[in-house]
């Protein structure tokens, strides 16, 4: 399964969210208007908005009650991406020229800040004030994760601990808060909100593991960057960690410090051979665990959609 199939009602809700975001980002500044719209249209699956909307449907409240959470989470996500690209000096994301490349560093920084502030204004509209706390803490965690690099590939236990801490901050925290905020907006019990947080966290971890796998095996055209781009920038991810563990090869462990293209190509080959399958297995385990948290919910349409999302996260090729 490569494509998520959504009910017409849910599609309509997502389109409504998209429309509202476009209205919200209108600014008195002409540059902000153009850059904001450009940023928003630079792709993005709106997966986090979908999670908030779907989780809310388990609750007693109107499904529309989660619309503010859905808008806010996409604004925070988009803001963190544009700032992330700025820190990394990335020229493109998913093949599209980044805001700081198209305009300049100042515009990218300010559009990100503007989107963060818009997210806060949006959360204030929510009938459930708890979502502000959820998302604010997720945004803080994203920043902390950016400043916590994976330092080593060995020993395996240390490497895995650093890696999962990093992606827990960078990706899973926002997935978790999207699910939690959706469930809270929908009027869920504390038990339901906690379960959704756990589900979202594992789903987010799996999402990032798959992202890191795709960085090695994905289609370069689709990704808009060459294979092994993380490794080229000295970033240690799960496939490399597992490949080093499997081969016990110090030459492979040293690859994050090299600029030598032959060495990099060699290393990519080793990672593909030894690191991808155990990483996929890790992603599968995370998804299996994520699904167990849904057991407290009745079989229902939202239950089915969350299972489909979990499968999509695992099997996506972009």
């Amino acid at each position: 399964m490569k494509q998520l199939v959504l009910s017409p009602a849910l599609q309509a809700d997502l389109q409504h969210v998209e429309q509202l975001i476009l209205e919200r980002i209108k600014s008195h500044s002409a540059v902000m208007n153009v850059a904001g719209r450009y940023l928003l249209n630079s792709g993005g699956k709106r997966l986090r908005a979908l999670l908030a909307l779907v989780c809310a449907r388990f609750g007693q409240n109107e499904p529309a009650s989660a619309v503010h959470a859905a808008i806010a989470v996409e604004l925070i996500h988009t803001a963190s991406l544009v700032h992330d690209d700025l820190v990394d000096e990335a020229e493109r994301r998913r093949g599209v020229v980044t805001v700081h490349t198209r305009w300049d560093h100042g515009v990218a920084l300010l559009v990100g800040d503007y989107f963060f502030a818009l997210a806060a204004a949006e959360m204030a509209l929510s009938p459930d004030p708890r979502i502000i706390t959820y998302f604010a803490h997720a945004a803080m965690t994203i920043c902390e994760g950016e400043l916590s690099p994976v330092m080593t590939t060995t020993p395996l236990e240390t490497a895995l601990e650093q890696y999962y801490y990093k992606i827990g901050c960078k990706t899973a925290a926002l997935f978790a808060s999207a699910c939690k905020a959706g469930m809270a907006s929908g009027g869920g019990t504390d038990e339901q909100i906690n379960a959704m947080e756990c589900f979202g966290n594992d789903l987010g971890l799996a999402f990032q593991v798959v992202d890191d796998i795709l960085d090695f095996v994905g289609d370069e055209q689709t990704l808009g960057k060459p294979a092994g781009s993380d490794m080229r920038r000295g970033i240690i991810t799960l496939p490399l960690i597992y490949a080093v563990a499997a081969t016990q090869d110090e030459r492979l462990a040293a690859v994050v410090d090299t600029q030598d293209e032959d060495e990099i190509q060699w290393a990519i080959g080793r990672v593909k051979r030894y690191g991808i399958e155990p990483s996929r297995e890790a992603a599968r385990s995370l998804i299996d665990r994520a699904l167990t948290y849904l057991n407290i919910f009745p079989e229902s349409e939202p239950h089915q959609i969350l299972s489909d999302v979990a499968t999509f996260v695992l099997e996506r090729d972009r």
Copy 2:
């Protein structure tokens, strides 16, 4: 008057806010901890926090109810400064090395983002949810202001319009929201909240006009930058606008495009002679107007403090 004299109770409240901010900024990331504390200790008068605390005292609620507004406004202000310095590539602020110079661009960007998120979390603790909307809109306005340069010194009317729009966004919006949020936290009526917004807005405009005057006439040691530093960076401020209007000198109007030190020194002399006094007059008028908004409040300790703050803003030399 160069120094604000505060009652022991208010001093204690401000110290409490300072202590809470130091606790709030503790992070799981070691770099964030150190850089956050460094940033917070890099000066700052906590004037915005003071405004929130004082305005709250006109209301019926406990004075402590405004503590969240006071913390949030200082976090937003600090975040916007560190991002502002990043955009401007400023090496120092008030003589202290900036975060991106001491660490790097990524750290400065992320500490700013972290402080914004902390502010949102803080606002969520406030008993009055309206303050989130106030501060979120102020933060959006700051971004819009950064992207709206003053383009011209002539004609005067256009230049003044652009200048006051810019400083209204950049400085006055946050002053206004600090006063408004303080008054709302204190349990003020809509009329009182509106009056405080107007007071804060004019006070903020005057504050920025004085800042722009000090950029020409202030002590270089104290400011940590040479006289006329705005003009050197091509930024048009009120003293230059008035100097051009008074002299009708095209050579002076062209100074923002030059790198020639002799020309700059000549222009600084002209601005000091022709631009400072009308700018001071403008600041005085703004302060006079600000004080009229306080007429609806009874003579009282907070009333006296706000008058003192207004005098301080006008007469400060740093």
